[in-house]
Amino acid sequence: MFSSLVVQAILSGVTNGVIYALIGMGIAVIYKGSGVINAAQGEFSLIGAVVAVFAMKAAGFSYPIAFIAGAVFGILLGIVVDVVLVRPMVRRKADEDAFLLLTIGIAFAISAGVLFFAGRDYFTLPSIGSDGVAIVFDATIRYHAIWVIVACAAIVAALRFFYRKTSFGLAMMAASIDADGAATTGINVAAMRTATYGMGGLLGALAGLLVAPIVPISYYMGLVLTLKGFCAAMIGGLTNPMGAIVGGIILGLVESLAIVFIASAYKDVVAFSVLLVIMILVPQGILGRRGRKGG
């Protein structure tokens, strides 16, 4: 009985962990691409999920179309954030702290916007696959959770392929590693930064779309998601988007095992304590610079 509890905790820990990983990857991608810590990453998730919900309920689209609409809105939101807000600040040579303040402002604005237009409701999306569960060592895992893990693995593989094998992805990497070198090689550095924000928006929206069938989403939840994603990114190493996967899964596992072994009320205490310990022991993150090749 006890061991099935642990298996259960591991399964839900991994499921939550890959969601944190997606948000963390979005934060890391934007940080690496533009040096900005995006405090509105969780709001990208919020928008992705809410758009999909309304596409189904209000506009009557099918789930797959609504899902795609949510993802596209995430991309557009990221692009708008860069073109309308970040770009003019870059032109005026704003400091790093100004950008952090900007993204915090964006986070509050989006949250308030969702409250205004969508209200205080909790929004949920249908499970992917069926509503059933699979039994693993006496523990249960929802089919949706399996899909979440598979989808995350596919996203990670696609991201690796994009950044390493396509000219566009390589150019985005190049612009983030050395902007002057990129510009003098004919790469439009500003456009690459915009693309980076679009990518961050996409990753955020996907996280929201995948988590909404598990945890109902409401207007205030962006911040929580941002913090979890930020932890995942920090644990893995902020300049290494692939590190966020390791970080996210560690965070998810620590949380869910804390529920089993300590108490559910203390899960955040345990999770953030682990973050503190990791930050003190390995300030560069667990992967540090290694494996940065991921993008």
Binding site: S167, A174, D178, G186, V189
Partner: protein
């Protein structure tokens, strides 16, 4: 090929370049020499569009590129090897070069292929799958030159290509640079080391305190170098 007139440029309120004017003709190798802090690198950055001039004109082949953004300016046939090379260390040699290939100028008269640059620098074939950051300084310089050549320039600007390299490597690189003229490439060589500059350049300009203070005419290197007072005043020791 390239004509600069009345150029002022700098960083923020600090003006580094004052009324800089010079020209580079088709197929010429021109050196720009000057002491540390003379404004050479600032001039290179202005020529590439990495900083915006506050006055003056940069004309490339009768085409005013003064306000053309860097990535587009590189498609008018200008390519540059920046100070410190500015390669992408995490990417492989092949990836560094591929980015130049896909973003290169189309339809210019120069046509460098990967095979061409590999012939110039065999190291590129040997190390093509290595991350650039694992290469030696000399090897990195060769990759940086190859990347610039794959942009298909008819004008190549090089900022201090010899700095920090062993004499043997410098010799090899200078040999390649000399041969570029036969491929229809003009060259602006920015050098602190006036010995190297005099070895390969037809003409030269001396820069001090952000101004062009002296012009070295074809065949004039020897008399410039033998004028100890001038060399000391403009280039330091």
């Amino acid at each position: 090929m390239l004509e600069i007139g009345g150029l002022d440029a700098g960083y923020g309120r600090l003006t580094v370049l004052h009324d800089v004017a010079f020209r580079i003709g088709d197929g010429e190798i021109v050196a720009l020499v000057g002491a540390n802090g003379a404004g050479k690198t600032t001039l290179v950055r202005a020529l590439c569009g990495l900083i915006a001039p506050t006055a003056g004109r940069i004309i490339k082949d009768a085409f005013d590129v003064t306000r053309v953004p860097t990535h587009e300016r590189m498609r008018t046939g200008i390519a540059v090897v920046l100070e410190n090379r500015r390669l992408w260390g995490e990417l492989t040699v092949r990836e560094n070069l591929r980015l130049a290939e896909v973003n290169a100028r189309q339809g210019g008269k120069v046509n460098f292929t990967l095979a061409d640059v590999t012939r110039l620098f065999p190291i590129i074939a040997e190390r093509q799958s290595s991350a650039v950051e694992l290469l030696s300084g000399g090897e990195q310089q060769m990759v940086a030159i190859a990347r610039a050549l794959l942009m298909q320039p008819d004008l190549l600007i090089m900022d201090e290509p010899s700095t920090g390299l062993a004499p043997k490597i410098v010799k090899e690189i200078l040999g390649v640079i000399r041969g570029l003229r036969d491929r229809g490439i003009s060259l602006l060589l920015v050098e602190q080391n006036v010995g190297i500059a005099s070895e390969i350049a037809d003409r030269g300009y001396v820069m001090a305190l952000g101004r062009i203070v002296h012009e070295i005419v074809p065949g004039g290197w020897q008399s410039f170098l033998s004028d100890e007072r001038m060399v000391k005043a403009y280039l330091g020791d």
